[in-house]
């Protein structure tokens, strides 16, 4: 299923006041795949996503998103990436629907198209009933769902989902996983998913990258990593085993 690369990072580096957050990272994400981005807290996953979005300037190295440099073509890159932040914020005094309408307006969507997409997105994440309540009154999980809806209305070619299932109830988590799979299959969306829930990643990701202390220590299909690290043939393995193996080596 591996086709042509849609995101390519070469020797990507980010230094925050003397502390290297991302260290000469080489990473390739292929079009249409779901890429799992793993690593302990503070490994540099969010920093990497921010550099690929063009929100943070790399200290060194290059990124290309659909062949474009995010620093040179910020609008094109941002228009085609939907970004779900790890600690996303909302305008408290807007309702869910108004928040989505604002995002749609910022993306230059026509009013009519925007309304359709908002309705679709609200239904997809299951917060239609609360759509006209202010965001202040939302629970943690409802905000998370609204955040995902904000990504959906852009209909982006690429989605960066930083901890998308954090705070969701089990039913919503399953629904989210199905939704991501579906988007990928039907709309050929590429998804980069950063998460600490390894069993979810194992369920939906074709390829994963494991990042530890700013370095990408592994990258590839899960089976391949399992063969390399655990040396298993037909034995069942979990992503968690692989991850712990890498983690202990460092």
């Amino acid at each position: 299923m591996a086709q042509e690369p849609i995101i390519e990072a070469v020797q990507l580096t980010k230094v925050y006041n003397g502390h290297t957050a991302v260290d000469h990272l080489d990473l390739t994400v292929y079009g249409g795949e779901i890429f799992g981005f793993l690593g302990p807290n503070g490994a540099g996953k969010t920093t990497t996503l921010l550099m690929m979005l063009g929100l943070t300037e790399p200290t060194g190295g290059t990124v290309r998103v659909m062949g474009l440099d995010p620093a040179r073509h910020p609008l094109e890159v941002k228009a085609s990436i939907g970004y779900l932040q790890e600690n996303m914020g909302f305008y408290r005094d807007l309702t869910g629907r108004q928040s989505l309408a604002y995002i749609a307006e910022l993306n230059g969507l026509e009013r009519k198209i925007a309304q359709e997409r908002i309705q679709e997105a609200l239904e997809a994440v299951g917060i239609t009933a609360a759509a006209d309540k202010k965001v202040v009154t939302y629970s943690r999980g409802m905000r998370q769902r609204l955040g995902i809806a904000e990504v959906l209305i852009k209909k982006p070619r690429i989605a960066f989902l930083d901890e998308p299932t954090l705070g969701l109830d089990p039913e919503a988590t399953n629904r989210m996983i199905e939704l991501i799979k579906d988007l990928c299959r039907r709309h050929e969306m590429t998804v980069v998913l950063s998460s600490h829930f390894l069993n979810q990643i194992q369920k939906i990701c074709q390829r994963v990258g494991i990042m530890i202390e700013g370095k990408l220590v592994a990258q590839g299909p899960i089976e391949q990593l399992a063969r390399e690290k655990l040396g298993v043939g037909d034995r069942t393995y979990t992503l968690e085993e692989i991850y712990m193996q890498y983690f202990q080596e460092h």
């Binding site: 609008l75 914020g89 005094d93 910022l106």
Partner: protein
Amino acid sequence: MKGFVAIYRKELSDHFSSYRFLILFALIAMVSLITAYLAGMNMAKALEGRVKPSTVFLSLFTAAGAGFSLVQFVTFFGPLLGLLLGFDAINRERNEGTLSKLLSQPIYRDAVINAKFSAAVTMIALMLAAIILVITGLGMLVLGVVPDAEAMGRLVVYFVISVVYIALWLAVAILLSILMRSVATSALASLALWIFFSFFVSIGANAVANSLTADAPPDDPAAIVKRARIENALSVLSPMVLYTNATATIVDPTRKTTRSVIQVGMMEQLSMARYSGPLPLDQSLLVVLPNIVFLICLTVICFAASYLVFMRQEIRSL
């Protein structure tokens, strides 16, 4: 300008629906109405049965009603309006996590700051225009004088200078909201700056002037003039002084200089030309032009500084 319109609209509606703005507007409207009404009543009584000179209309703005005049009121509280509209412009969004969401949409980064500044300036202009119009109406009712083209022109110039003056403090507040992460800190810092430049600079200018001319005898006219000169030169650092001098000359056609009485030439003082006959508007404008230019420069510098800092700022830093 991708994104400008969307953000501008949102900012405006935020301002209109915020209690902060409504309370402020109610307060300013009330004070200015009462002041102008009292001033108007006093004048109507004083001028009863006499032909009213055309300049009387402008006196509505300069005559003290309840202890202070409208022009003085705007001079003191206008900056507060600017500060209140801007002190949390950027850092609130940064703290709530909406700034990075905004910037991850396909908009130019400067659209954010341009739209926020423009929306706040729009609010300032609307507020001032409303006050000036209401007082004009009130003046026609109480005094029975219709402002002539000249008076209207002066009011328009007064309006423009005032918007620039308040926008200067808005720009200062926005700059601080970019530089400081905490909303409370930027609020305090902007208040401190306002107090410093509005009050202490003139007090400081006075002290410096006094100490520089300390060895001259107190009644030496040359020393008095020198002291006034130094004070005047230093006070240029205070936007409040710049603004006061500019507006006083604009709304009072009999004033012919932005300088203090002491600094006016001997001959001019003797002839009392200063108090005879009003100055035409274009002449008044010429007199205050340096002040206006200086105020605009200060505003532009402050805004440019916030612009530069914001464009280069690391999204996760501070």
